[in-house]
């Protein structure tokens, strides 16, 4: 199998400073031992609630935040061990699209400057004319009109801005893009347009995506594999089909049942599992299973011992004490 990205036991702890000398008094374990891999040309959906560490995981993979521990292998090369120049080359092939198309674009730059920044930084084009051609090509590919190249960001709507963000990410010819809630801030009718664009690009360029989202309907539509995160850990991993039709972890079950029913049929077949309480605070992590406090099936062992990551058949992994689930 051709793994484009492999993440092994990735950890990211944020220190909490306190006291008179600003010493580190505690740590928030935002990502705590996450491992997964993505095959070339596939889409991995990473789902979870706010604060579960899914965005942090995406940022750490790209090196936007330094990692605390673990390994990241991109196309077989360990990012931490290669030379600086090689690292720079590998980074060119990994890009990101952020959630908020309003704050992730510089208001003082016009569209052409925004898109060409990466091209210039990596010296991918030699002449100005080439850069201009490349920008126009990217804009067309993303559904924008080349005549808008010298406009500023405030003249665009949310959906168009997200297209600019995608064009910017594509500028350096990446193989892999982290999409961090890339459609969450958009209106319903615009969301569908952007999702289709992402699918088109994936097929025509052969991109690999890490699709981070909390919207399960969209994740299901776009992903080949899905990983469910809860408090810094992946609790379940499998193909989209496995996760959505046969969820094994109680958290995944609850998450799926929390999606509002839509048609009369869905409403009739629905067994909603309402979870009690909120996420526990990340500085004071439970000793055993992190989900134990909200789990309706918890037993004594759940609060004492950490469950192990086991294969439940056909590459469907789950971290839960209950074998029947």
């Amino acid at each position: 199998m051709d793994k484009l990205l492999e993440v092994k036991d990735l950890k990211k702890y944020f220190p909490i400073k306190g006291g008179f000398f600003g010493r580190t008094v505690a740590e928030v374990k935002a990502v705590d031992g996450v491992s997964f891999s993505i095959q070339r040309g596939r889409v991995l959906g990473l789902v979870g609630e706010s604060g579960c560490g899914k965005s942090t995981a995406g940022r750490v993979i790209l090196g936007l935040n330094p990692k605390t521990g673990g390994e990241i292998l991109f196309d077989g090369e360990n990012l931490a061990q290669v030379s600086k120049s090689r690292q720079r080359e590998l980074r060119r092939r990994m890009q990101m699209v952020f959630q908020d198309p309003f704050s992730s674009l510089d208001p003082r730059m016009n569209v052409s400057e925004i898109i060409s920044e990466g091209i210039v930084a990596y010296k991918l084009c030699d002449t100005r004319a080439e850069i201009e051609d490349r920008v126009n090509e990217l804009m067309e590919k993303c559904g924008l009109f080349p005549e808008q190249a010298y406009r500023y960001v405030h003249q665009f709507s949310g959906g168009q801005r997200q297209r600019i963000c995608i064009a910017r990410a594509l500028a350096t010819n990446p193989d892999f893009i982290v999409l961090d809630e890339a459609v969450s801030a958009l209106d319903v009718s615009i969301q569908a347009q952007i999702i289709n664009l992402l699918k088109d690009l994936q097929e025509s360029i052969g991109l690999t995506y890490l699709f981070i989202s909390h919207d399960l309907n969209i994740v299901q539509f776009i992903s080949d594999e899905v990983a469910v995160m809860y408090l810094g850990e992946i609790v379940e991993y499998g193909t989209t089909e496995q996760i959505f039709s046969n969820p094994r972890h109680p958290y995944t079950v609850a998450l799926l049942s929390a999606v509002p029913a839509f048609t009369r049929e869905e409403k009739a077949n629905k067994h909603r599992m309402i979870l009690e309480g909120d996420l526990p605070s990340p500085y004071d992590m439970p000793k055993g299973c992190r989900f134990a406090g909200r789990c309706p099936y918890r037993e004594a062992v759940c609060e004492e011992e950490k469950p192990v990551w086991t294969d439940r058949g056909d590459g469907h992994y789950c971290m839960c004490h209950r074998p029947q689930l």
Partner: protein, 335 residues
């Protein structure tokens, strides 16, 4: 409000609230921008009316106008009436309005972070509502607040009353908002995107609490959201808005099973669902028009797959297409 809607089943009595031909504009340096053009709907006793639409369609403005909460020098209530218990709230003075606001009609806002005052404890903020609207003693107020917090399933309510908003999580804050809105046992609660800022599992909890309270108190809800799933779960009837106008209105199941308006159809089709066969989503082309260059005629005609010449000229009349189902589209207009 057209005659057709009042023919609806179970509409023997007067509706609790009737918004008719509401028109709200904002005066800017350059032009008068019309956010809500001609909006009519009514809310019956004990029902939940859902209002869906994308950002800028005027859904929040029309609902805030019910209590005249859209205020300022540049706001113009140009036309229309909001009849609540037979009285027009738009022509009331502030003093008269104050008797209704928070007492008979209350609101739940989207951002529980900004809607609660960070400088006061939960108990102070909740108590204020009762201090203004009732003659209860301090002790009674305190007890009533605690009781209400328990109703929205906040454990150890007595302790929470002494906490500040920043001590609580998003879901808890939103439940405090709900408790606050229902303290005075209002007739109508306007919930403006109450669960948009929350995670799905927390959203499920909050919706569940809201449904239970409705059963207990028999209040009506106006539920504003852009999430079709939430609407389908909560609402009895739905109003779909686009560009400051109502384009379709029907009972929830009818609307989702047999949508008429091309916009409603597009919205429903573009939502991914489990077991979808296609690998591309059907889309509504184009962008949501901005207020300062709204197209003439039907505001949707620029994006509509079925647009005709007449769509560019005038906005269509509301037409009844089924029991309690009206649509404003030239395709269905009676010639």
């Amino acid at each position: 409000m057209s005659e057709k809607k009042t023919d609806m089943p179970a509409a023997g009595q007067e509706p609790l609230l009737r918004v008719s031909h509401l028109r709200v504009s904002f005066q800017t340096d350059k032009a008068l921008l019309c956010a809500v053009e001609d909006v009519s709907f009514d809310v019956r006793k004990g029902e939940t009316l859902g209002i869906v639409g994308e950002s800028g369609c005027g859904k929040s403005i029309s609902c805030m106008s019910i209590l005249k909460l859209v205020q300022g020098e540049n706001v113009r209530y140009e036309n229309g009436a909001v009849l609540f218990e037979g009285e027009d709230t738009l022509s009331m003075t502030d003093k008269q309005l104050q008797k209704i606001r928070g007492r008979k009609i209350s609101m739940i806002f989207q951002e529980p972070m900004t809607a609660l005052n960070p400088l006061y404890t939960i108990g102070d903020q909740m108590g204020e509502v009762l201090k203004l609207h009732t003659k209860l003693s301090k002790k009674e107020i305190w007890d009533r607040c605690c009781e209400m917090l328990e109703k929205v399933r906040i454990p150890n309510s007595r302790e929470i009353m002494l906490r500040y908003p920043f001590n609580l999580s998003g879901g808890m804050r939103q439940r405090v908002m709900i408790a606050m809105a229902l303290l005075t046992n209002p007739e109508l609660v306007i919930a403006d995107e109450p669960t948009t800022a929350l995670d799905v599992t927390i959203q499920a909890q909050v919706l569940d609490v809201m449904k239970d309270l409705q059963k207990e108190y028999g209040c009506s809800y106006i539920f504003i959201t852009h999430d079709l799933g939430v609407i389908s779960e909560m609402a009895d009837r739905v109003v779909v808005m686009y560009g400051g106008r109502v384009c379709e209105c029907a009972a929830t199941d009818t609307l989702f099973e047999h949508p008429y308006h091309p916009y409603t159809r597009g919205l429903i089709a573009s939502r991914p669902y489990r077991g979808m066969k296609t690998d591309r989503l059907p889309v509504i082309p184009g962008n949501v028009p901005s207020l300062n260059n709204k197209p003439a005629g039907c505001p949707f005609h620029t994006r509509c797959p079925d647009a005709m010449d007449c769509c560019r000229e005038a906005f269509p009349e509301e037409t009844a297409v089924g029991e309690g189902h009206t649509v404003a589209c030239w395709k269905y207009a009676k010639k």
